[in-house]
Symmetry: C2
Subunit: 120 residues, 2 copies
Amino acid sequence: MLNQVRELDRVFQALADPGRRLMVERLSAGPASVSELGRPLAMSLAAVVQHVQVLEASGLVRSQKTGRIRTCSINPAALRSAESWISERRSLWERRLDNLGDYLAGTAGLPDTGPAAAPG
Amino acid sequence: MLNQVRELDRVFQALADPGRRLMVERLSAGPASVSELGRPLAMSLAAVVQHVQVLEASGLVRSQKTGRIRTCSINPAALRSAESWISERRSLWERRLDNLGDYLAGTAGLPDTGPAAAPG
């Protein structure tokens, strides 16, 4: 449970940076090397490596080194856990609104409620 | 576009804190005052107010003051934009995997590919 909380902390923290989101975006189209990930970003290779490390620590990205090339790929499980957390809260909120709507629709039919029933 | 990038930065940053996620969780069940939001958290009211301000700046939460009571509620649009960002990347990645699976299933049927077709 505590691990799951920490995992979500790290995933949302990783996604809070526009450069790291660009990297995730690139990786969602397929694996890429660290230098490929850095290409569209105006930053040093050292900075790119640091961002990749944050993504790996969050579990969003996995990497494998073959010779001198480190290839990164998406770990969909981490994306899914963040997505589920948000969608569960959103649907809870929407269900609550639906229930409120049903309740109001129900009470609207009663003769003694609402301003419409008040004497003019 | 830049605004949307900054909005996502702030939403993910806001969700990266377990206390703020608890607040969003509480609010997804219905509006609540700032002191209600702070009740399950072991922190000062000043710290609670700061967290609420981060949530409001991100657009995840709206608040309204009536007398001395500030009541907060969820803004589902901000939840939805973060959810969409993640789900689009996840489905892009999954579609890529499906295409790869189809491709491999297709080439498996050809007589002259793969180690199985190589002379024993």
